[in-house]
């Protein structure tokens, strides 16, 4: 028997509250299609996620759903119901799998959750011993606690969803005093799972080294949640019909987690509006691009909202351009649609365009992650990653996705550092042979040597990656092995082939060093004890198909190096450098990109320390606790980041 092409499960498109309103009930429940997982156990527990429905605050468990029950399969899953915990489990699984699917498709590889770090203090000398472990499944706890919150915790490799009592006052369509479950919001599930996936790709993006880092995590999760909404045709059609094709008007599509937001006793609408918000006079207005905001707004959610608005701006530009011809046809050139409802065929075509753009844009946004530096991300870097990733995979840029993005970033005032124009060529990351200063002949030889070394060893992972079966643990183990070998090469084994000077110069070109690291900060000298340890975080092959039907095969490598500061006024701080290397398999492992952050950069060191010490006025402490020092040295804690101080 062939494996079914998909598993069909019913669920919400927007928050559950919309199911009890006449104008939205028809669009709020649809049948989704996700991949068919073999051996999906009760819970549901699959290969990537395990849903464990324990409710510690109520001191109880809820029985798990078995999605392979014949009655459940026959009706495309359980019927959507806020009062049935089994439906909650089904929905959380479904929404998580949808998000996962988008990522695996865009990234061209299987998602492997970020490793678990275990620190043991052993022996009489109290030495720190660090080990890393593979994590097979992400845990989803649909009813973890009683609060208006949901968060991903990297310590437990789990997403905890809260539930709470709605406001006593009548707000939106909430039952006053009724229960709101964050696990039933497709946006919230998508948002949290995105945090987990982003953490698996770039674990250093939780380090608060500049004002954009925390904002980026939040923004990226919102972008995925928002664009995913636009990939549901029936929903988009209904909204296009309601707004007569003008997406810039208020529509539920532009809000996130409406029911959640309404329930917080705040009649300001959804939790985060991407394209606008309800002002103090209760009138909804679209955000107008304001380049000043990026210079002046630093609170992570607000700053992240700028990035979300920017991407959404790009989306709107593309939509307007690509539907211009349809409008011309429908209006015989006048551009003015007839009053009243627009023709259903037109609605259908407009919606199809919107959905198509959303899906492609979502994939561009996700793919760009592979073209980001491994740490200290900022919005300008992300723009460059977006452009470079897209150029790689769609050289012709049919339909102007790149231009739309550049225009959007420009209008919101986000500009990358050290780029002299906003042209596509300038924005793309430099290829090694375009760099200034160029790699010299020796360095080019070394680069080729490293590439050929990898070519010899990456075969096992390549073979495993092409198999459909669930072999992620094997891929992980093979990668770990290869990472160790590459590490040895970088640190010692090169000596058989190259001189130390040549090697030193080469390392600098990829943002690393084999010398002692020295900085002077405010007149105080800081120095590492020896060359900081190099870490090979990732070696993965990647297969992608572009929107121009080009097959791209690459190997991604992430290298980082850490200078841990001991003593002096900066004791406890960590300064890192490193790079993302992208090798093209079809071009004989040619190193196409070196996207780096230099560990020897004085400028970056000063900026980070100023920021983390609170000297830079942009620094806003991520929590208000009097137990905290207020320094930025700690990692970002998502639970605290999410705790709502909705004002």
């Amino acid at each position: 028997m062939p494996v079914p092409p998909g598993r069909y499960l019913r669920g919400y498109t927007l928050d559950p509250g919309f199911s009890t309103r006449l104008d939205t009930m028809g669009i709020n429940e649809i049948t989704y299609q996700i991949r068919w997982e073999e051996n999906l156990l009760k819970g549901p527990c699959g290969a990537y996620f395990e849903v464990i429905d324990v409710d510690p605050a109520s001191n109880c468990f809820y029985d798990p759903v078995d999605l392979n029950d014949i009655e459940v399969l026959a009706t495309n899953g359980l019927s959507p119901s806020e009062g049935n915990p089994k439906f909650h489990q089904q929905f959380v699984y479904l929404a998580a799998m949808r998000t996962l699917d988008h990522f695996e498709k865009s990234l061209g590889r299987k998602i492997i959750w970020s490793r678990r770090k275990v620190v043991k203090i052993t022996g009489p000398k109290k030495r720190k011993q660090v080990t890393y472990h593979y994590v097979d499944k992400l845990r989803l706890y649909p009813h973890a606690f009683r609060d208006a919150n949901a968060y991903y915790t990297t310590d437990k490799k789990a997403v905890l969803f809260g539930y709470f009592e709605a406001a006593k006052k009548v707000q939106g369509s909430n039952l006053p005093g009724g229960v709101i479950f964050s696990c039933l919001s497709p946006d919230i599930v998508a948002h949290e799972v995105t945090h987990a996936i982003l953490d698996s790709i770039h674990p250093r993006f939780t380090e608060n080294t500049n004002p954009d880092v925390a904002a980026f995590h939040e923004a990226f999760a919102d972008i995925v949640a928002l664009l995913q909404r636009f990939t549901i045709p029936s929903l988009v059609e209904s909204q296009i019909s309601a707004t007569r094709g003008n997406l810039e008007e208020f529509s539920f599509l532009g809000e996130l987690a409406t029911q959640f937001g309404n329930a917080l006793q705040n009649s300001r609408g959804a939790l985060r509006g991407a394209i606008g918000k309800v002002g103090p006079d209760n009138i909804w207005r679209k955000y107008t691009p304001d380049p000043q905001l990026y210079q002046s707004v630093f609170e992570p959610h607000e700053r992240g909202a700028i990035l979300v608005a920017t991407i959404f701006d790009g989306f709107l530009r593309l939509y307007n351009v690509q539907t211009a011809d349809l409008i011309r046809i429908a209006t015989n050139g006048t551009g003015v649609l007839q009053p009243g409802a627009i023709h259903p065929d037109l609605v259908h075509r407009l919606a199809a365009t919107a959905c198509d753009i959303a899906e492609r844009l979502l994939h561009i946004c996700i793919r760009a992650l592979d073209y980001c530096p491994p740490l200290d991300i900022n919005f300008g870097d992300y723009l460059r990653a977006l452009i470079t990733a897209d150029v790689d995979v769609s050289p012709k840029d049919v339909n102007g996705y790149r231009i739309a993005l550049i225009e959007a970033f420009r209008s919101w005032g986000i500009f990358p550092d050290r780029v002299n124009t906003l042209s596509i060529e300038s924005l793309c990351w430099d290829k090694p042979n375009q760099r200034n200063p160029e790699l010299n002949a020796n360095e080019k030889k070394i680069l080729k040597y490293v590439a050929q070394f990898l070519k010899g060893k990456v075969g096992e992972i390549l073979d495993l990656s092409t198999l459909e079966a669930n072999n992620r643990e094997q891929i992980y183990n093979a990668s770990q092995k290869l990472q160790a070998q590459l590490h040895d090469l970088l640190v010692s084994k090169y000596r058989a082939f190259f001189s130390p000077e040549a090697w030193s110069g080469f390392l600098k070109k990829i943002g690393l060093t084999d010398e002692v690291v020295k900085f002077t900060y405010n007149g105080e000298k800081f120095q590492s004890e020896g060359p900081p340890p190099i870490e090979v975080y990732k070696v993965r092959p990647v297969y992608r198909v572009s929107r121009e039907d080009i097959l791209v095969e690459q190997v991604l490598i992430t290298l980082t190096q850490t200078f841990s500061i001991r003593g002096g006024t900066l004791d406890g701080a960590k300064f890192r450098g490193g790079s993302t290397l992208i090798l093209n398999i079809s071009k004989d492992y040619d190193v196409e990109y070196i996207i780096y952050k230099n560990i020897l950069s004085d400028h970056r060191f000063k900026y980070q320390m100023d920021y983390q010490q609170g000297v830079n006025p942009a620094f806003i402490a991520l929590n208000d606790s009097l137990y905290e020092d207020g320094s930025g040295f700690g990692a970002i804690n998502f639970a605290n980041l999410h705790f709502h101080s909705v004002t």
Partner: protein, 478 residues
């Protein structure tokens, strides 16, 4: 000739020229605020007391406050306290007005409180009752955590409640409320309740010499636009939600020690028929959840972290309700900033204040830039001084006073409070040119008169430490 010049110079250095303000930070022996300001300009003068309290209510705390207030009374002789300010309802700012109520009788002319204490302000009344409600709930929560032996892992609840000094029997924060009640009756004149944007006249000093600006607590403007203010409506949604959350947390705690038969739990979150006690739960799920190799992923206590968050929220809320005053010495433009315990939210609201007596182009940050005396917020915890504002303080005579006592048990205990916060402390020293004064040590480290980096010599007046009468004094030249 030389003698003449000498006498002239001597006269110049002894006689205060024009307006001066002498600020005395009293050493209350633990965390607490008590500041006496003495404005003098030839014949005119004004005595201002901003807060009087310490963290605890033990006999020794009371005795200490009595000594301090006794000294103030003696120093005044037959003069009055022209102005007494109570900034917000925390024990460490108001306990003196309860324990030394007798000593304050008859010597106070005018009392200023924030609009949140105004009995005629409907918004204020609602907020106040919601806040009291939350404090009461937190106390119940604290008791439950204690009875279940869970408080050890959640110290914030107990710590924060310390600021309210709860009565054992009634669960009501007695001292702070009583302090405000006393303040309302102490003054010879009716109490004035202040809102941001107001510029009240300083009793005893004409506005041509000293101007007072009220910066906080903010009135959340968006709340004023609520569509249909019904009787039951709350004006602060987050506060009300916090109250609800606390309530639900308490009933969750009930679930732990009895199989709750409470009506609230019958349908929350699901109909009771769905709940399966751990002993009756699905075997396969239990196997996964209880697997010892996966024990690092269980979530038995996460839901209780909410208790800490609620406690910190309550603390921030009360701190943000601080009355913040800036005193401007008109001729020189120098500003004394008393920010009580205002936290980030309060500070952020200052930028957009519209001043009742200033032109439209006047910016609050004009005041910040000219600060010469900054009373550091909340004993120099990290979130009570906005970095942007601190960086904006540009005046070359800037001095900071921190009412912190490093021996306070809340600081010295394990995982204690970070006061003064490391980075903030360092930055304060840098911004003031190493002119930082502390309630416990007098001169902060590296800031003494003989220390290398200090710059006290640039200022006309040097700080004075009076160990007998328990204060640290610094005078600002107007």
């Amino acid at each position: 000739m030389q003698i003449f010049i000498f006498i002239l110079l001597l006269k110049k250095s002894i006689m205060p020229k024009g307006l001066t303000v002498t600020v005395r930070m009293f050493q209350v022996g633990e965390l607490g605020d008590c500041f006496l300001l003495h404005f003098v300009n030839d014949e005119q003068e004004s005595h201002v007391l901003i807060d009087c309290g310490s963290f605890r209510n033990s006999d020794s705390s009371k005795k200490r406050l009595e000594k301090i207030v006794g000294y103030i009374r003696k120093e005044l002789k037959d003069k009055k306290l022209d102005l007494v300010v109570g900034t917000h309802q925390h024990n460490d700012h108001l306990s003196g007005f309860v324990h030394c109520a007798g000593l304050f009788q008859g010597i106070v002319d005018q009392v200023w409180l924030s609009w949140l204490d105004d009995p005629k302000d409907t918004m204020a009344k609602k907020i106040s009752s919601d806040q009291q409600n939350l404090v009461g709930l937190m106390e119940t929560l604290n008791k439950k955590l204690n009875s279940l032996n869970l408080s050890g892992a959640h110290p914030a609840v107990k710590d924060i409640l310390g600021f309210y000094s709860i009565d054992e029997d009634s669960d009501v924060p007695v001292i702070p409320a009583k302090g405000i009640a006393n303040l309302k009756t102490l003054g010879a004149n009716p109490v004035v309740y202040l809102s941001p944007g107001q510029q009240p006249t300083l009793p005893g000093m004409p506005p041509e010499l000293v101007k007072v600006y009220v910066l906080g607590p903010p009135r959340n403007q968006s709340m004023l636009f609520d569509k249909d203010p019904k009787k039951t409506e709350t004006y602060d949604p987050t506060l009300a939600l916090a109250g609800q959350s606390a309530g639900k947390l308490i009933s969750a705690l009930d679930n732990l020690d009895t199989h709750s038969d409470k009506r609230e739990e019958e349908q929350f979150p699901f109909n009771k028929i769905f709940s399966k006690r751990p002993s009756h739960a699905d075997k396969d799920i239990l196997k996964i959840y209880n697997n010892p190799l996966q024990s690092w992923r269980t979530i038995e206590s996460e839901w209780l972290d909410q208790a800490d968050r609620l406690a910190l929220y309550l603390d921030s809320f009360t701190n943000n309700s601080s009355l913040v005053l800036a005193f401007e010495l008109v001729q020189s433009g120098k500003v004394l900033l008393f920010a009580a315990d205002a936290q980030t939210g309060n500070w952020l609201s200052w930028e957009n204040i519209r001043w009742e007596k200033e032109k439209a182009d006047f910016k609050t940050y004009n005041l910040i830039e000219n600060t010469v005396l900054y009373k550091v917020g909340h004993h120099a915890s990290h979130n009570a001084t906005l970095p942007k504002a601190l960086e904006a303080m540009q005046h070359e005579e800037l001095v900071a006073m921190i009412p912190v006592d490093k021996k306070d048990p809340n600081i010295t205990k394990k995982n204690g409070w970070k006061m003064p916060a490391k980075n903030l402390y360092k930055r304060l020293k840098e911004k003031t040119g190493y002119r930082v004064l502390r309630m416990d040590d007098g001169f902060a480290d590296e800031c003494g008169l003989t220390d290398k980096k200090n710059t006290w010599k640039k200022l006309p007046f040097k700080p004075i430490i009076d160990k007998k009468n328990l204060f640290i004094e610094y005078t600002v030249q107007g």
